[in-house]
Symmetry: none
Subunit: 140 residues, 4 copies
């Protein structure tokens, strides 16, 4: 019910827009159950201070999440996870994430790697649980 602590790791240098990173972090937190209906998000001002970014950027992320019906906003009160959020998130997030995985695998195959190669890589990578790849050119 009360406010939730979610670890927010934003990479300003990433090719992925900051506001999208915020959206994804929140989506993932909902999908994985770390954020539950009724939990409130940090206020726009607070998060902008924490992440050292412009409040408008946070607002943009929060608005998108509201349009997606993942959060409900009340002026003068704050932003809270909606009741529908988990359901929506589990569907959309899994779809998105699976889509990206599918893309990555398709790329590997196109690049001439065999299915066996890919399996090996998956094991290695999953085991390492590495930090996000910062190569550009892939997304948007």
């Amino acid at each position: 019910m009360a406010q939730q602590n979610v670890t927010f790791a934003i990479d300003t240098q990433s090719p992925i827009a900051v506001y999208v990173q915020i959206e994804n972090l929140i989506q993932f937190a909902i999908a994985s159950g770390r954020l539950k209906p009724g939990d409130t998000l940090p206020s726009v001002r607070e998060m902008s201070l924490t992440l050292d970014i412009n409040p408008n950027t946070v607002t943009k992320a929060y608005r998108d999440l509201e349009i997606l019906q993942l959060v409900t906003t009340r002026r003068g009160v704050g932003v809270a996870i909606s009741d529908k959020a988990p359901k929506i998130c589990k569907e959309k997030t899994i779809d998105m994430v699976r889509g990206h995985l599918r893309d990555a695998i398709a790329e590997c195959l196109a690049a001439g790697l065999s299915a066996a190669d890919i399996n090996t890589m998956v094991k290695t990578v999953a085991a390492a649980r590495v930090a996000p790849y910062s190569g550009n050119k892939h997304k948007s």
Copy 2:
């Protein structure tokens, strides 16, 4: 030695820029051996007509590939795969592709999927060899 036919599947709706898609397709074709040193690429004009995209876009892709030393351009002759291309490509492409796979897996983990879930998905996806994901443009 002469011109090679490479299947070009461009998705203008994809969040990935068209010129990047072209570069990737060619890189993948080189990495996997479908394009070999000496093979010539379609002319800018021809490819722009084939794919129904702006010639400038093709030009940009070819120029990038030349900067990467994957192709050589000779006036009046055309654009050909360079001798160094396979070596460069195998390194760079594998790196890139692995990076993307790593990203996708990291995302899956962040979204709360277990390693087992991911393995299952990999098998399914690899078996299907599906078309590229055309998910929401606003997400990473």
Copy 3:
């Protein structure tokens, strides 16, 4: 003469501000004769508890109503419907309500509905006497 019971249905999710909803409900009650001059409204404290909203919000509504001369506030006594209230309300409220109806119809026409469509909808809606619409907050 004494305190009146008015059914208060506040929708905190509505795009309409809570204090406006309160004002409207009271205005409507006066216009329709459910509240008469001399009737007292619930105290700020009582109403804020009943509706589970911030006391400031109730205060604001009451203050607005006083400015409109619909209620009179006497320290230690409470807030009572003024003598002029019915007259003022019948004019203002009908005007407002007609304005909203006009808006809604204009919108329907703009959206491409025919006058016949609208008539049908009016009949259906009036017959149903449904709960307030809680549509997308981002739309008008």
Copy 4:
């Protein structure tokens, strides 16, 4: 297929946000068939000049429409009505518009008007096809 002319009447003084007015106008145009899939919207810069508002405001409207999948945006190209737009619009717009009408009628009833009164008003108003009501306090 080519660009479409849609009459855009924005009221900067309206309580409804400018970007919402833009969204509504476009939605209505789609719902009523004046805008069809493939039609392109005026460029952000063009519309901002036409309406004499900030480009960011137009961008905001266009982004929302894209999230709602009513338009597709391509960098360097422009914004076009999506194929799904008519279907989505006819559903959502009718819903929204009916919701507003429902609200207005509920208000009329609450204000003490009889169903007969309302019917009369509807006929009058629909016949007049008046300009939008500019009373404040109703929406957002």
